[in-house]
């Protein structure tokens, strides 16, 4: 068992455990913490997959910004017993949902293990002009990523900025208390 597999297994276990934690904790704050751990473990995955820049971005954006917002809202709104005080009106869905999820995971794993084998020379097949190539394989090549982002994918990148502006405006509008409401 090589160090690579060892690292993968450890990180995968951490990721799955923290993922289960997200949906299993009663308290939303622990869910959020669990999700943070999950995101960090995914960042580790990305490191293993030579994606150093994306790993840093994952930590910076997801862990550093998005989850802080989550934690903010959760600490403001959440109480420990919120979900226990009222009874579940569609309790059958609890069972059905869990079963459906497990079936989904099992079916997907089954397909991946049995049928969707990527050919060993997939990398060779991929090395046509369809994809932006990493000039120096094996290192997290930020420069190649930058070239891909600002040349091949410039338009999606710009569209993203438009989406962000829209989101900012939407958040400002939603977050503003209307004058009438603030009086009562």
């Amino acid at each position: 068992m090589s160090a690579n597999i060892l690292a993968f297994s450890a990180v995968a276990a951490l990721a799955i455990a923290s993922g289960i934690g997200v949906i299993a904790f009663r308290n939303a704050i622990y869910s959020a913490l669990s999700l943070i751990v999950n995101l960090l473990s995914l960042a580790l995955f990305y490191l293993i997959l030579n994606g150093m820049f994306i790993a840093a971005a994952q930590v910076l954006i997801y862990a550093g910004a998005i989850m802080v917002l989550f934690l903010f809202v959760v600490t403001m709104l959440s109480s420990d017993k919120a979900e226990l005080q009222t009874s579940d009106r569609i309790s059958w869905q609890r069972l059905v949902g869990v079963i459906a999820g497990i079936i989904f995971a099992a079916a997907a794993s089954f397909l991946l293990l049995v049928h969707a084998q990527i050919a060993p020379d997939a990398a060779a097949q991929g090395s046509n002009n369809l994809f932006t190539q990493i000039s120096a394989p094996g290192s997290g090549n930020t420069e190649a990523f930058g070239m891909a982002l600002f040349h091949g994918f410039l338009f999606p990148f710009e569209v993203t900025s438009a989406i962000i502006v829209a989101a900012i405006l939407g958040a400002v509008v939603l977050g503003r208390r209307s004058r009438a409401k603030s009086e009562d």
């Binding site: 995955f45 869905q93 293990l113």
Partner: protein
């Protein structure tokens, strides 16, 4: 021996399914939202795995864009949840069922 692509994909599928279960089972909209984030990240993992397997950074671009869009989505989503909480003083998603037939 390198870890095969399929291993990453299976981990991703499991994480995705966990997210699905979370959406179906939990009643706290914040946790549901987190489950959605989990699903997004599972998909990001497949992108990264494929990018590594194919020796291309195109997958990174998708992950990067999905990161930024997720940030935008979270901002708006949390704003909506806070707005709902402000008016209804509760955050049980089952209470928001006025749109029923």
């Amino acid at each position: 021996m390198a870890v095969s692509l399929n291993s990453y994909l299976i981990v991703s599928a499991i994480l995705f399914s966990i997210g699905v279960i979370g959406v179906l089972v939990r009643r706290n909209p914040l946790v549901i939202f987190m489950s959605i984030e989990l699903m997004l990240n599972a998909v990001n993992l497949t992108f990264m795995a494929f990018a590594n397997a194919l020796g291309s950074v195109d997958g990174w671009v998708f992950v990067f864009i999905s990161l930024t869009v997720a940030a935008a989505e979270v901002v708006v989503g949390l704003a909506i949840i806070v707005a709902i909480f402000r008016t209804r003083k509760e955050i049980d998603i089952d209470e928001m069922n006025t749109l029923k037939g």
